[in-house]
């Protein structure tokens, strides 16, 4: 066997080993309920903002504390604490992806990704007055 082949073999084995370990890095999408089975472990939860419930962000008290309620895919509503500023436009979001962990009855999240209505649905025509 050529030297190149040996080195290539070693590299490929190393790469496969890396990729296998990489898989353990990947998180999973869960619901509030399945996330609460392992408190403290970080998951992603996909849900919808409950606009009819309280959204509290008061930078005068704490600029890094925003609480709201979200409904996950299985329909459970839970309180969510986000340690950051209130994300822009969250009221208009169609769907939010929250990354965080469950503790007691609340979900502590450190990242929120919002899916906003797509460009084409957002299209609204501004109708002005006839002048």
């Amino acid at each position: 066997m050529k030297k190149t082949h040996i080195v290539l073999l070693i590299l490929v084995v190393a790469a496969i080993a890396t990729i296998v370990t990489v898989f353990s890095d990947f998180s999973t999408y869960e619901t509030f309920e399945s996330a609460s089975k392992e408190p403290g472990k970080t998951y992603y939860v996909i849900g919808h903002l409950q606009t009819d419930k309280d959204m509290i962000y008061d930078p005068k008290v704490d600029p890094n504390h925003f609480t709201f309620y979200a409904k996950d895919k299985s329909g459970n509503v839970q309180k969510v604490i986000f340690n950051g500023e209130k994300p822009r436009d969250i009221e208009r979001s169609e769907q939010i992806v929250m990354m965080g962990y469950s503790e007691g009855n609340t979900f502590h999240c450190s990242r929120i990704q919002m899916k906003c209505p797509s460009k084409y649905k957002k299209d609204q025509i501004a109708v002005g007055n006839k002048s």
Binding site: K3, L11, F26, Y44, V61, N83, G84, Q113, A126
Partner: protein
């Protein structure tokens, strides 16, 4: 229902659409002619005729494409909002310099840009490819056909739509909206939707064209490789492919980092690189292109690694299409912050078909020629340049595979869910995930990139090599130790990376000066590698010690599962609330929010004035004072909230990077009311929350209040008040009292934003007991509560970020030196370098 619409300008759109079709047909024609020219190659006069027709077709294609640009630009520049594209992406208030950016915001415009660069590069290839012209141009024209379908907007039956044209009318794009039942609907469409505020940045004018030129220039090496295999000629293609891949390395590299610079200057995710899928999608083809470039160098000098070269160039171009697929179809939806919103299923299938066709072409060429591709049977020496260069290329390739696997999670997760039942999501700490793996690539490539230059092709004298490298390694070790100690870099894998970067810098400088005697023409590789090592150093220094200085102490402590209290606190509170006029300690600085620009300026942003002071710790004297003006668009494009732009203080050795995360909405929070004060003679004092003001008299002429412009029939009186704040700084405030047309009273306020002070003047007539009227001067004063006026700010320090920018410039410069060297060589195949 047939409505005759009024006020539409239909001819630019019709003309544009005509050119869309012409350009598509011309590219089809060009492909056919060039292909026939290849097939009739043995009948030279006939083949030459077809070749000329192919050229004509491609030129017509280019001319039509430029006409499409002109037509669309005409529509955007003249604000013809009857066209969906103009309505969606521009508005009257859009500053002129951003009109071009409207092209890139939309799907079709950016496809057009891509096609345009292919045209330009195709014309160059047409003029320079000589014996490979017919084959390369067949491939290039074919890709143009594929891209042309993207902007065709052609319906097959009712359900299948191929591409979408930029000349769609608003009423066609939004069929069924009631407004279009009126013939004069144009009278109601007053303004366009406007350009996404994030794109209103000078980097966004220049970054997309450069990046797309980088994308486009991957096509040319691809076309040459396919052409070489098609013809079975493995010599002619080497020189042009090498030249084009050097250009590609420079341009795509620049484009990617311009994107980083844009992110750094105008996005607030706090840095120039976030391993975001969209960023990765353009980085990965660059990495494979660099790998391909190096295997091609091996082939040029030793005749080895040809198969790998072909594979890597094909993969690079396919990856460009794959990244288009990732970023434009919306498949990344859940994972990326700034993926384009997708055109949905139609585009997904469309792109998959194109990728499939290109993949089949590559595979057919490779499989058909697999046995006949020249190879060298003998084994390479361990101490040869080609051996280690090959290893380096393989590692780059593996690195790109890792990045693509993680980036593509949304693509393969449905399959994985079907197999394992788990719904895979990106790693919870994406940055750490990539960094942990790619740091090893950086270490290996950093060391290899300097070492291989000292080795010769074929074989190298081990002793001489060891001597030279031992010396440079020693210098690098001292340098790395010094930096690690000075910058507190302790994590051992990053210390290794630091050493690799230092070694790369020292060894490449030594090689360029001592071994190559600084002969400019030959300096390309060592300069490019020096740049790369400098980039590694810059990334390490700026990211490892990047730290927020805006800690909030007001927070409710939360446990983030970190080891120490300090780490928890850090997670908690990288935002700080600044109340107007109250200094807050941030790192070495005291930051004070002074006030905002109140009304949006011409660029429609509100600027927030924040003063920074650095004091000597012993004497408490201010040694440095400066202002930063982070700004924000308030409620842009009909959205809620603000879209912020950072403001950065640049030092030679660090950047102070600040941006606003929230600000007061005055209309909602300001509840202060006017209080009346009666002043008699000059010298009378009015007390304020944080100072006082002194009445200074009145005047009629020579007005100081700029907000008031006297009109005919006005009687006016301006009041002068001197305002003293706590620091005894004096400012003046000049409210104006006006009687209009001798009939009614009006006023013009004056304000002092630093104090949140609003003053209004009035004259009161009072009847006293003696029946005599006296005129009293009333000053109405309102002061916003500083607690009602605040901003939420985040401030980060990036140490030595200039090292990164410098490294990129050096690296790109190195690419161009090499390019010059390649172009000036007469013989292409295996000559020098031995």
């Amino acid at each position: 229902m047939d409505v005759q619409y009024i006020g539409e300008h239909l001819w630019p759109g019709r003309l544009g659409h005509f050119f869309v079709i012409t350009s598509f047909v011309a590219s089809l024609f060009s492909t056919f002619c060039y292909f026939t020219a290849v097939r009739t190659e043995n009948d030279l006069p006939n083949s030459n005729k077809w070749r000329l027709l192919g050229r004509g077709g491609f030129i017509l294609h280019t001319v039509s494409l430029i006409s499409i640009f002109v037509a669309l630009f005409y529509i955007i520049a003249n604000h013809l909002f009857e066209y969906h594209y103009a309505w969606e992406h521009s508005s009257y208030s859009l500053p002129g310099e951003y009109l071009l950016s409207c092209f890139w915001e939309g799907q079709q415009g950016s496809f057009m840009l891509w096609i345009f660069w292919h045209c330009v590069l195709g014309l160059v290839v047409m003029g320079t490819a000589k014996s490979l012209e017919t084959r390369t141009m067949t491939i290039i024209s074919l890709v143009q056909v594929a891209l042309g379908t993207m902007i065709l907007g052609f319906y097959l039956g009712d359900d299948i739509k191929i591409g979408s044209t930029p000349f769609t009318l608003l009423r066609d794009a939004m069929q069924g909206a009631p407004i279009f039942q009126q013939a004069n609907y144009m009278e109601f469409v007053k303004d366009g939707n406007g350009l996404n505020v994030l794109l209103q940045n000078y980097w966004m004018v220049i970054h997309p064209p450069v990046l797309f030129l980088g994308f486009a220039s991957t096509l040319i090496p691809f076309a040459y490789c396919i052409a070489a295999m098609w013809k079975g000629d493995y010599q002619t293609f080497v020189k042009p492919t090498l030249a084009w891949s050097l250009l590609n390395g420079a341009v795509l590299g620049t484009g990617i980092m311009m994107g980083g610079a844009w992110a750094y200057e105008s996005l607030n995710f706090g840095g120039y690189w976030a391993w975001d899928p969209v960023e990765n999608a353009s980085l990965v083809p660059w990495i494979t292109m660099i790998a391909a470039l190096h295997t091609l160098l091996i082939y040029r000098s030793t005749g080895r690694a040809l198969t790998m070269t072909m594979i890597l160039f094909a993969v690079t171009h396919l990856l460009i299409w794959y990244s288009t697929f990732l970023t434009r179809t919306g498949i990344l939806g859940k994972t990326s912050v700034h993926a384009f919103t997708g055109d949905g299923a139609a585009l997904t299938y469309h792109l998959l078909i194109v990728i499939g066709v290109l993949l089949i072409i590559s595979l057919v060429a490779l499989i058909a020629r697999w046995r006949s591709l020249p190879r060298i049977k003998s084994e390479e020496e361990t101490l040869s340049r080609e051996f280690w260069m090959f290893i380096g290329s393989v590692i780059l390739f593996l690195s790109s595979i890792q990045i693509i696997i993680t980036t593509s999670i949304p693509v393969w997760s449905p399959l994985a869910k079907w197999i394992t039942g788990k719904d895979f999501a990106p790693p919870s700490d994406v940055m750490q995930h990539y960094n942990n793996i790619q740091v090893w690539v950086a270490i290996i490539i950093g060391i290899l990139s300097a070492t291989v230059l000292y080795m010769k092709f074929k074989n190298t004298d081990g002793k001489a090599l060891g001597k030279k490298l031992g010396l440079t390694a020693l210098i690098a070790l001292l340098m790395a130790a010094g930096i690690a100690w000075g910058q507190h870099i302790t994590a051992w894998q990053y210390v290794l990376m630091l050493f690799a970067a230092c070694y790369g810098i020292v060894a490449n400088i030594y090689y360029g000066i001592v071994v190559q005697k600084a002969k400019f023409k030959k300096l390309g590789p060592s300069v490019a590698h020096l740049g790369f090592a400098t980039v590694l150093l810059g990334i390490l220094l700026s990211s490892y010690n990047k730290h927020p200085i805006s800690f909030s102490t007001a927070g409710i402590p939360m446990d983030f599962g970190k080891k120490t209290q300090e780490e928890n606190a850090k997670e908690n509170s990288e935002n700080v609330t600044l109340f107007r006029g109250i200094p807050v300690a941030m790192g070495d600085y005291f930051a004070t929010y002074i006030g905002d620009s109140d009304v949006a300026g011409k660029d429609r942003r509100i600027y927030y004035k924040v003063q920074y002071e650095r004091k000597d710790t012993v004497t408490n004297k201010v040694i440095e004072r400066f202002m930063l003006y982070p700004d924000a668009f308030i409620n842009p494009k009909g959205q809620q909230g603000l879209s912020a732009n950072p403001s950065t203080k640049h030092y030679w050795n660090r950047d102070l990077f600040t941006f606003i995360n929230a600000a007061t909405d005055r209309s909602k929070t300001d509840t202060s009311t006017y209080r009346s004060h009666i002043v008699g003679k000059p010298g009378d004092t009015i007390w304020l929350n944080n100072g006082y003001m002194v009445f200074n008299g009145t005047n009629k002429n020579d007005l100081k209040n700029k907000r008031y412009v006297p009109a005919a029939g006005d009687e006016h009186l301006e009041f002068s008040l001197k305002v003293y704040d706590l620091n005894n700084e004096v400012k003046e405030i000049n409210p104006v009292y006006i009687i209009k047309d001798r009939s009614y009273v009006s006023y013009v306020e004056d304000t002092l934003h630093e104090l949140g002070l609003f003053a209004r003047a009035n004259l009161l007539i009072k009847h006293n007991d003696a029946g005599k009227d006296t005129v009293l001067t009333e000053i109405l004063v309102r002061q916003t509560d500083p607690k009602d006026d605040f901003i939420v700010l985040k401030a980060l320090v990036f140490p030595y970020i200039n090292v990164l920018w410098l490294g990129i410039i050096v690296m790109v410069f190195g690419f161009f030196i090499s390019l010059g060297d390649v172009l000036s060589r007469k013989v292409s195949a295996r000559s020098a370098d031995k």
